[in-house]
């Protein structure tokens, strides 16, 4: 039918044919610049990093040559294996904490709150303050003689030697605070999307509220939980600001090592190898997600 109409029009208006060429070209003209930017400054650098990790660099001139030296990978894993493990423990603990803390809030906003946009804005408020300043404020709050610990110590509720800063707990707390919105928003999106009729149906089938929650709401929010996990755990395991400001010198994360090797004592192959490992783990996470829950859904949560 449509074909027919179009054929008719072609006879009457020759410029429509020009339009058809325009229709095939215009998505590339529109999307081209942005995609080109991403290819040149995102994908190509990833490939560069991959190649840098198998290069050998001169210690003094820093001139690098491609030598296909794969030894960097076992080297960094044996050298920084414990740092990797520590990063994943910290990021995992922080992600778990934010999931537990923010799920009820996301649930409340999605199902009960009246002014949803207002409460979503409240969740996003920390983003209006620089990441570094937020972390500094926590350093300020958690300091040994600060408002919390200082007061408790003055009342002899805590021993004088007690400290939070420069421990793993401080890093986990900082990560949990900084990444909470990344967890809460996908959870909210998933919960908001649950069809209220399904809930009503469960009540019609005599489910009480607890059963409705465990058998309907929770299973339907699993894609959101997984997306929240991915969107929190991945950046948190690569984070180094929290470890640097709150963690002292003994609780370094893999991000600190990458940053040091790139900026302070240049060892590009090692730093690249570490970044490649981090990137591969993220890709595995995404692949797992799309395998289990379908590839389209995860994009809806960002």
């Amino acid at each position: 039918m449509e074909q027919h109409v179009r054929a008719d029009l072609r006879g009457v208006e020759p410029e429509r044919r020009h339009n058809r060429l325009g229709r095939t070209l215009s998505p590339y003209l529109l999307g081209g610049p942005a995609i080109l930017w991403l290819v040149v400054f995102f994908l190509v650098p990833l490939v560069t990093m991959l190649s840098l990790s198998i290069q050998t660099c001169d210690t003094f001139t820093l001139a690098c040559k491609l030598t296909w030296h794969f030894g960097e990978f076992p080297d960094v894993i044996s050298k920084f294996g414990d740092t990797f493990v520590r990063s994943f423990i910290y990021a995992g603990a922080a992600t778990f904490a934010t999931l537990v803390v923010s799920f009820p809030v996301a649930y409340w906003i999605a199902f009960r709150a009246k002014r949803k946009n207002f409460f979503l804005l409240l969740l996003l408020l920390p983003f209006f303050v620089s990441f570094v300043i937020r972390t500094t404020a926590w350093q300020f709050l958690l300091s040994d003689q600060g408002i919390v610990l200082g007061t408790l110590k003055d009342h002899h509720l805590l021993p004088q030697s007690f400290h939070v800063l420069a421990t793993g707990w401080a890093v986990i707390a900082g990560l949990a605070y900084n990444y909470l919105p990344f967890t809460a928003l996908p959870l909210y999106v998933a919960l908001e999307r649950i069809d209220r009729h399904v809930l009503e149906a469960s009540h019609d089938l005599y489910a009480n509220r607890r059963v409705a929650f465990t058998r309907v709401v929770l299973p339907l929010s699993i894609p959101g939980i997984f997306a929240a996990f991915l969107l929190t755990f991945v950046p948190a395991s690569g984070d180094y600001v929290n470890a640097a400001i709150l963690g002292g010198t003994n609780n370094l994360m893999i991000g600190n090592i990458i940053q040091n090797r790139f900026l302070l004592l240049p060892d590009y192959p090692a730093a690249s190898a570490l970044s490649v490992i981090l990137m591969v783990m993220m890709l595995v996470g995404i692949a797992l997600y799309s395998k289990v829950l379908g590839s389209r859904t995860i994009e809806e949560y960002v």
Partner: protein, 293 residues
């Protein structure tokens, strides 16, 4: 099914109503709102520290933030530019954020238009690139870009910062604009063209006004991401210092109160814009009931 078998009796009306409306509510009804308020307060803690201590007096020769409350003063607001280097870093960050917002808003909007309007070869791949870009840990973005610049022997400075900021903003803008565009009725454009409008006039008079709120939201996000960025900037900045980089550098030696003054002003500016946006959205929703949340 098992629940049905277990409860053969007809439920009373009270059991059927999930949330009692009006009248006396069970105490459990208030657990969630109270808990949520507590979480919101927790989110506000470091922000309040920043705002409060931007008013704290300091009597040492080199003004530094100290935890002891020494009395309120607006001195640091008057002397906000009193620290050498800080003001420059602040304005550099604003300039960088404005420029990268402009570039990424234009590029991102165009890509969003292409993704929503057209089916084309490479669409799926483009979407995957966008997603990977957003999901990638920032440290990988920064480190790989630095490796790229080192390999090409590019001097790091303002231009590499701009490249990096546009790179991590453009995907966010695209996704924000795309989600607003999906509710857009293409018939409106056809109607305009049927009425004799040229493509350019159609875009300017019909398309642009309709998608403008989406572009604004995307641009806002880009601005916030850019002005706050530390990790990627730290890799590609060279000797150029942005505001977050300056603050990070000052953490080890002690932060002057002016940092909290500037942080507070960024926070307030962001808050005002966000509230305006909220009001604007609310008004739009009341005129077009079908609009997407």
């Amino acid at each position: 099914m098992s629940t049905l078998a277990e409860s053969p009796s007809i439920p009373t009306a009270k059991e059927l109503v999930p949330v009692p409306r009006g009248g006396r509510r069970r105490w459990t009804y208030f657990v969630l709102p109270i808990y949520s308020s507590a979480v919101f307060l927790y989110l506000l803690i470091p922000i309040s520290v920043m705002v409060l201590y931007s008013f704290n007096q300091s009597h040492s020769a080199l003004p530094q933030l100290t935890f002891k409350w020494q009395g309120a003063t607006t001195q640091w607001y008057r002397e906000w530019n009193g620290i050498p280097g800080l003001g420059e870093a602040f304005f550099l960050s604003i300039k960088l954020a404005l420029l990268s917002t402009l570039v990424s808003a234009v590029l991102g909007t165009l890509l969003a238009l292409a993704l929503v309007r057209y089916r084309f070869r490479g669409k799926r791949v483009s979407e995957q690139v966008l997603f990977t870009n957003i999901a990638a840990p920032e440290i990988v973005l920064g480190a790989s870009l630095l490796g790229f610049f080192i390999t090409l022997n590019v001097d790091r400075g303002f231009s590499t910062l701009l490249i990096a900021h546009v790179m991590f903003c453009v995907a966010y803008v695209t996704i924000t604009v795309r989600s607003r565009l999906s509710g857009f009725d293409p018939m409106l454009e056809q109607a305009a063209q049927d009425l004799g409008a040229t493509p350019w006039v159609t875009f300017r008079k019909v398309t642009l006004p309709l998608i403008f709120p989406g572009i604004l939201a995307g641009a806002l996000l880009a601005f916030v991401l850019s002005i706050d960025d530390f990790v990627t900037s730290n890799f590609v900045s060279g000797k150029t210092i942005t505001f977050p980089l300056w603050v990070y550098g000052a953490v080890k030696v002690g932060i002057p109160p002016q940092v909290f003054v500037l942080g507070t002003s960024i926070f307030l500016a962001g808050l005002v814009i966000a509230i305006l946006n909220l009001i604007f959205q609310g008004r739009e929703r009341s005129t077009t009931p079908a609009a997407e949340g």
